[in-house]
């Protein structure tokens, strides 16, 4: 046992001193390639994934799985006599499978795996390379903008229910998919540009396809000037937060060790002020958090922020780790751009 301790300590020090920027870059790149092109290796993780692995990315069945919002909307669009009987078991089963996927990584699906999050981070890197300053929301703007994702989640549920019983036209099926920038942008990576077109079949299809392209354009511009612009409005983020209390991966804060330096807030792509201000709450992960762990990497106080998996600490803020990352140039220089 004593012989193990130095090894364990060395491993822990290596992990806590990791170059998170580089680690995250490679994980995101590998995840992007996997979920956009994994179908070519016949990988199919199903259609209950907690990320925007787009089901429209279907040229040669390119993707390795499908975002859960797509089947959820289609399943909810069934007639109420089917939906509110024993047949509703398929929705509950689907939700359970989604929850199982989600609780494995909590919101780190957003910060490390989601292809749309990865695209936004690449656009941010481009903006940083060009030398353009990023934009921020004011606190009041932040307050009301973060509610939009819950509204979109509600629409993702209510519109299909309305379709199911004939109150709403079937042309509005999967409404979130129709306006999602993922539907327009992700198939482009496998050579499918068909979703850039406007469908003039009916007034509804014109509106929805135009809205989809409009939001895709907004996504590109917004991601360029605001870090993780789309994640504020992501209905998947809202759905995930409903299950976050069950997740195995947790972000914890020890308020007693926090010196309120504010570095964690400065590096946070989602502008979550509570990560710096709240010294009372231990379970500090907010609904907007993408668990990118930049706050942990930027924190100079040992043990103030920790990442636990099933109760075991796997990554924590340390002074030595902070110094190492600063020497690599990943500290406040990153936060200021």
């Amino acid at each position: 046992m004593k012989a193990d301790k130095p090894v364990l300590a060395a491993l822990r020090a290596a992990v806590n001193g990791v170059d998170l920027v580089r680690f995250r870059f490679w994980v995101q790149l590998a995840s992007f390639a996997f979920f956009v092109y994994g179908g070519y290796a016949a990988v199919n993780l199903g259609s209950h994934l907690p990320i925007f692995a787009c089901g429209y990315n279907r040229v040669g069945k390119a993707g390795a799985g499908v975002c859960y919002l797509m089947p959820l909307q289609h399943q909810l669009a069934r007639s109420w006599t089917t939906l509110f009987t024993g047949a509703s078991l398929f929705i509950l089963t689907g939700l359970a499978i989604f929850a199982l996927w989600f609780i494995a990584l909590n919101k780190a699906w957003c910060g490390f795996v989601c292809p749309m999050g990865t695209i936004q981070d690449w656009i941010t890197a481009l903006r940083r390379f060009v030398g353009i300053r990023y934009s921020v929301y004011t606190q009041s703007q932040f307050g009301w903008l973060k509610k939009i994702k819950y509204l979109l989640l509600a629409l993702a549920v209510l519109i299909p229910l309305g379709i199911g019983d004939g109150y709403i036209t079937r042309e509005l099926r999967a409404p979130i998919c129709q306006i999602c920038p993922g539907r327009v942008l992700l198939p482009l990576f496998s050579g499918d540009y068909s979703h850039l077109s406007i469908d003039f079949t009916s007034p509804t299809t014109v509106t929805m396809t135009a809205l989809g392209v409009f939001i895709a354009g907004l996504f590109l511009v917004g991601s360029f000037v605001k870090k993780r612009f789309y994640c504020f409005f992501c209905p998947m983020s809202a759905l995930q937060f409903l299950f976050s209390k069950l997740a195995l991966l947790r972000l914890k804060k020890d308020g007693a060790k926090c010196t309120r330096c504010g570095d964690c807030y400065r590096v946070c792509d989602m502008q979550i002020k509570a990560i710096a201000d709240d010294v009372a709450t231990a379970d500090i992960m907010a609904d907007d958090c993408t668990l990118c762990l930049k706050c942990v990497a930027a924190c100079p106080e040992t043990g103030a922020l920790t990442v636990k998996y099933a109760g075991l600490t796997i990554f924590e803020s340390t002074e030595t780790g902070f110094i190492k990352r600063c020497q690599r140039g990943h500290c406040r220089a990153h936060a200021s751009r």
Partner: protein, 202 residues
């Protein structure tokens, strides 16, 4: 180091993107590797290269039919294609027994009634003189011919109801407008302070 490795990964990804384009299946003309048919006359629609299992004919497609007699292509057979609305075109098969038609747009509803999944049917009729005195020995005839029909359907072409031009225009307009707005907002904030001073005369 990181940018170089990233560039290598990007180059490695290019074959994946190329592979994502539709491949041509190995194309076999009708009649090869198939069991000889015993039908006195039949019409076979020739598959297009790269045709998948869920292939659907669309308006504007060129469709090729092969007329065969007991498995052997028949040259100079009369072939007529008739659409649901009554449009018809007649041609003769070539030396390989092939007759080509271009499916015309046959569906002109009002915008509200337009259904992009509408299936318009058509029928292809092939006729060829038959040897001998006909199939009924009790009633011999001087002229006999075999006639075969084949029906199928086609849907409206996406070019009739979808527009890439509008899609790109909207996307680029949003990007340009958004980018310009952000730029002008940021420029506004760096303007020097100006004030108007009133000098009251004596």
């Amino acid at each position: 180091m990181k940018p170089t490795l990233f560039a290598v990964c990007l180059l490695a990804a290019l074959p994946l993107v190329a592979a994502a384009q539709e491949h041509d299946e190995e194309y076999k003309p009708a009649g090869e590797d198939s069991r000889p048919s015993e039908a006195p006359l039949e019409i076979v629609r020739e598959k297009t290269p790269g045709e998948k299992a869920n292939f659907q004919l669309q308006a504007g497609d060129e469709v090729v039919f092969v007329v065969q007699q007991q498995g052997v292509p028949v040259p100079n057979a009369r072939v007529r294609l008739v659409t649901e609305q009554g449009w018809a075109k007649e041609t003769l098969t070539d030396a390989q027994g092939r007759a080509r038609f271009q499916l015309i747009r046959d569906y002109f509803p009002s915008w509200i009634e337009f259904n992009k999944r509408n299936r318009s049917t058509f029928v292809v009729v092939a006729e060829n003189p038959a040897p001998g005195a006909g199939s009924d020995p009790a009633r011999p005839s001087t002229n006999a011919s075999n006639q075969a029909t084949l029906s199928d359907s086609y849907s409206p072409s996406p070019e009739d109801y979808s527009s890439y031009a509008w899609g790109l225009a909207i996307g680029l307009l949003v990007a340009a407008f958004g980018g310009t707005s952000v730029y002008l907002y940021r420029r506004r904030r760096v303007k020097p302070f100006k004030e108007v001073a009133f000098h009251e005369g004596r």
